[in-house]
């Protein structure tokens, strides 16, 4: 059974170790492919990481005019092949999650490749390895989708088009705490 990234939003402390870790993976040329966003700056310290969502039908790959973006047998969407990529940024515009980046100097696209040199050997990717809070985990895909401890999301609606992703998001239970997901009151004095 294949493993995928599971992201438990509630646990993220915004430390960006995932970003520094991503830079450390061989073949990443010290360029991170992970993003960490502040959800509600000024209101709370809540943050969430966004790696590639590894779509089942990836728009980046489909939009690539030179078919530089390949998909592995496990369904991971790789960075563009160095030989083929022409740096046209079609993938950047096509991706609904805004993931692929283009290095303007090298004219090369780079994105999360699921640390393929690690995951192909069964070792978790760097972001999931280093994340100090287990916000990012490398877990069994089917088990996650069927019996995750939390409510999960792996289908997304973009203006009527449903996109299914291999990366699975664990949703916070906002009945007990808003975790910074909507306007916090801050602390009272």
């Amino acid at each position: 059974m294949g493993k995928v990234l599971y992201i438990d939003y509630e646990r993220c402390i915004g430390c960006r170790a995932c970003i520094v870790g991503c830079e450390e993976c061989s073949g990443h040329d010290h360029m991170s492919r992970m993003f960490v966003d502040e959800l509600n700056p000024g209101e709370t310290v809540a943050t969430s990481p966004t790696p590639c969502m590894h779509c089942v039908t990836p728009a980046c790959a489909e939009s690539c005019p030179v078919q530089a973006i390949s998909i592995t047998a496990d369904g991971f969407v790789l960075s563009a092949s160095m030989e083929k990529c022409i740096g046209c940024k079609n993938c950047t515009y096509a991706c609904p999650f805004g993931i692929p980046r283009v290095d303007d100097v090298k004219k090369m696209m780079y994105k999360c490749d699921m640390c393929y040199d690690r995951t192909s050997k069964g070792t978790p990717p760097m972001c999931a390895s280093v994340c100090p809070t287990d916000t990012i985990q490398f877990l069994d895909e089917q088990e996650l989708k069927n019996h995750s401890p939390k409510e999960v999301q792996y289908q997304w609606d973009f203006g009527g088009t449903t996109i299914e992703t291999k990366t699975v998001i664990g949703l916070p239970d906002t009945r007990s705490n808003n975790f910074g997901y909507y306007d916090g009151e801050g602390v009272q004095s």
């Binding site: 646990r11 450390e24 700056p41 310290v45 070792t123 809070t133 801050g186 602390v187």
Partner: protein
């Protein structure tokens, strides 16, 4: 998974990735007290440090690392490393040879001692050093130099916890429990600890407890990430912890949530506490602390009703002129509810510095000899004198504590040897500290980078970075760990222990400092600690490797150490009983006034370590947080007409600085917060109050009175 003591930790069963032409050196992070395990990737032929690879099998962190840990290796090949000794000539630091530098130091030391006496030499050292180095520093001061004046920067960090634990339970190990116990707690009270940012690798345990249904209470003036996810956040006014903890005790006693059997059989002092906390009603405590009374009641009940629970705290509780009172008052929460000596029940302080624990056990504290022995105790003196092979009378008495030592520079102390510390950034009221350093006759700094303090030295000696060091450290749990260094010394840098031994030799005291390796120093330390409170005698390098670290006390070769303290409910006093101590709330040393109407508090950010001497040089960490900033609540900002990103002038009675505003609702309206990792004009310690706790001599970093105003000039921009 390895030794049975490690079973319930967060290690994972994956193999580290290995690559051709490289080897993996398994060591530990050089930063905070978690001491996370990691592999350093090194080029086999040239010994060049290439990167980091997770070490999944180390129990404490299982490969996880915070951004500092991931990026730490980048110091090793950093272009700013000191590679040659430097001597000040015509006002400038210029390269010299080791011989020239060492001879100069020796002649100055001898001259100053002849003129002013032995105590005119001071040593100010650090707690990021290995146990071996800390031990050696203490020995070098006492019998290499014969001075009583040695102290260390842990005085600014862990000393209140140390004193508080000693007065309450008679032993100072930062945690009564192994970290794996946290996951078994039913309630966690985290006070004055921004755990997520300062000790990120505690989060798998804290979130793990939460996954198991534990309730979390956070006491913090800011809504940190930990507070955001807590069940109850007690948004306390800085400096009022004693009142708050007394309020929680009041609720628990009122609701009869205390453990009468435990109190009766294993403690003294309860009646006095009961009497004292009568007046700490939720309403009264709310007035002092600013926390809503309902929240105090709920938190008291939540802690009291839980079967197992831990009280954990850090500098927010300790860095006060009443820090030791606050520590013991929080310890009371566990003592009156009998939450101690079991899985998931106990108390702990989060260790700030890498070796904050070991650094205070082996005699670099001015009032201590190795093994946590009191330097004034005749028996302890006699024993250590026999280990060192000197006459008892040769060991000096207690000298000055860290900040007092700095104040004495240029007066009683004419020469300072500074190792692994940067007091001109980390001390309170640093404008004065700069003057003290400049008034010295002679100043030697040992460091790997030219820190803000080293810039002022007469001689700077280049030492190695941690990946080149062999030795041990003691982590937040009291687990002694093994660091394995890469065998290299770039340029002409030398290892600190070799520098110290060479100095001793040149001072004619070489016969007491004959070591060929850190292991030899450790073996002497083991004997020196034997029979002391922090007994390391049974710990060997071999055992450390086999067990992935050993918890002290470990008194015999057969012993496997003691992960959990007080399982027999015997406390470290002659009557075996813990002391429930009653303290009144006294409040901060400095109160707000008309002129300075706002409370300033300081702390860390996740990307930087202490004075920033190391992390500010690592590009990726610096980019995440290049400059300090001041957190201001929107309502306070409106009052002063300050917008987000605008420059603000903050001033206290001691100094002022300009810093960029970060307007945020995470902070109380009556205070501001500035991180402390920067030097010179960006140092918040220009403003802080050097008032000391009378017991621990820790400065009151966490509260001082300031005013804020919009700044006119264009200063540094927050990135």
């Amino acid at each position: 998974m390895g030794h049975s003591q490690n079973r319930e930790y967060v290690q994972r069963e994956y193999d580290a990735i290995e690559r051709d032409g490289e080897e993996l050196i398994s060591t530990h992070c050089c930063f905070c007290g978690m001491q996370c395990g990691m592999n350093i990737r090194v080029k086999t032929d040239s010994k060049e440090v290439l990167g980091v690879e997770p070490r999944y099998d180390f129990p404490m962190n299982g490969g996880r690392l915070c951004p500092k840990g991931v990026a730490a290796y980048r110091q090793a090949e950093h272009g700013e490393r000191l590679l040659h000794p430097l001597i000040r000539k015509n006002g400038k630091l210029v390269e010299s040879t080791w011989d020239e530098a060492m001879e100069l130091i020796v002649s100055k030391i001898k001259g100053i001692q002849a003129e002013y006496g032995k105590d005119a030499i001071g040593i100010y050292s650090g707690s990021s050093m290995t146990n071996e180095k800390c031990y050696l520093m203490g020995k070098f001061a006492r019998i290499g130099l014969g001075t009583k004046n040695i102290d260390y920067n842990g005085r600014y960090c862990m000393s209140s916890a140390s004193f508080g634990f000693n007065q309450s339970v008679g032993i100072d190990r930062g945690s009564t429990n192994p970290w794996s116990d946290i996951k078994s707690a039913d309630v966690l009270l985290l006070a004055g600890s921004n755990t997520a940012e300062c000790h990120p690798l505690s989060m798998p345990y804290i979130w793990g407890a939460r996954d198991n249904g534990a309730k979390i209470i956070v006491v913090d003036p800011r809504q940190t990430k930990t507070a955001l996810v807590a069940d109850i956040h007690l948004d306390i006014r800085p400096g009022t912890d004693v009142a708050l903890a007394n309020g929680l005790l009041h609720v628990m006693i009122e609701d009869d949530l205390v453990d009468h059997d435990f109190i009766e059989n294993h403690t003294t002092g309860f009646e006095k506490l009961k009497e004292l906390v009568k007046k700490y009603t939720p309403a009264h405590v709310s007035e002092i602390t600013g926390v809503a009374p309902e929240k105090i009641v709920s938190a008291g009940r939540m802690f009291g009703q839980a079967k197992n629970g831990m009280a954990m705290f850090a500098r927010g509780v300790e860095q006060h002129a009443t820090g030791t009172d606050a520590v013991s008052t929080y310890v009371n929460l566990c003592l009156v509810t009998g939450k101690i000596g079991r899985k998931g029940s106990g108390f702990a302080t989060f260790t700030g510095q890498g070796n904050g624990q070991g650094g205070r056990e082996h005699g670099q504290k001015t009032d201590q000899l190795p093994g946590f022995r009191k330097i004034t105790d005749p028996k302890a003196r006699e024993y250590i004198a026999s280990v060192w092979g000197v006459d008892e009378s040769e060991i000096p008495g207690p000298g000055l504590s860290a900040y007092e030592l700095l104040q004495a520079l240029g007066k009683e102390i004419k020469c300072l040897i500074l190792a692994c510390s940067n007091p001109i950034v980390s001390s309170p009221s640093i404008a004065h500290v700069g003057e003290y350093l400049k008034s010295l006759d002679f100043f030697v700094a040992i460091d790997m980078f030219l820190s803000e303090s080293a810039e002022l030295a007469d001689v700077v000696l280049p030492s190695t970075v941690w990946v080149e060091d062999d030795g041990t450290t003691t982590n937040v749990e009291g687990r002694v760990l093994r660091l394995k260094g890469i065998d290299r010394t770039p340029g002409e840098s030398r290892r600190d222990w070799e520098i110290i031994c060479d100095l001793a030799e040149r001072l004619g005291r070489g016969k007491y400092f004959k070591y060929d390796s850190p292991e030899e120093i450790f073996n002497e330390l083991r004997v020196a600690s034997k029979g002391g409170i922090a007994d390391y005698y049974g710990i060997t390098y071999e055992k450390l490797d086999k067990m992935q670290g050993v918890f002290w006390p470990c008194p015999t070769e057969e012993s496997e150490g003691m992960p959990r303290l007080f399982e027999d409910l015997k406390f470290n006093f002659p009557d075996g009983k813990a002391r429930i101590l009653a303290f009144e709330h006294k409040g901060p040393n400095e109160n707000i006034s008309k002129e300075y109407p706002i409370i300033l508090s300081t702390g860390r950010v996740v990307y930087h370590y202490l004075s920033g001497n190391q992390t500010r040089r690592i590009e990726s960490l610096l980019n995440f947080c290049p400059d300090p900033y001041v957190e201001i609540h929107p309502k306070l900002a409106v009052k002063h007409n300050i917008g987000d990103g605008e420059l603000v002038k903050i001033s206290s009675a001691r100094g002022s600085m300009e810093v960029v505003a970060k307007i945020t609702k995470i902070i109380r309206e009556d205070m501001v917060f500035v991180p402390y990792h920067w030097g010179k004009s960006l140092a918040i310690n220009n403003l802080t109050n050097p008032a000391l706790d009378p017991n621990s001599k820790i400065p009151e970093f966490k509260v001082c009175a300031v005013k804020i105003e919009k700044a006119e000039s264009m200063g540094v921009k927050h990135g």
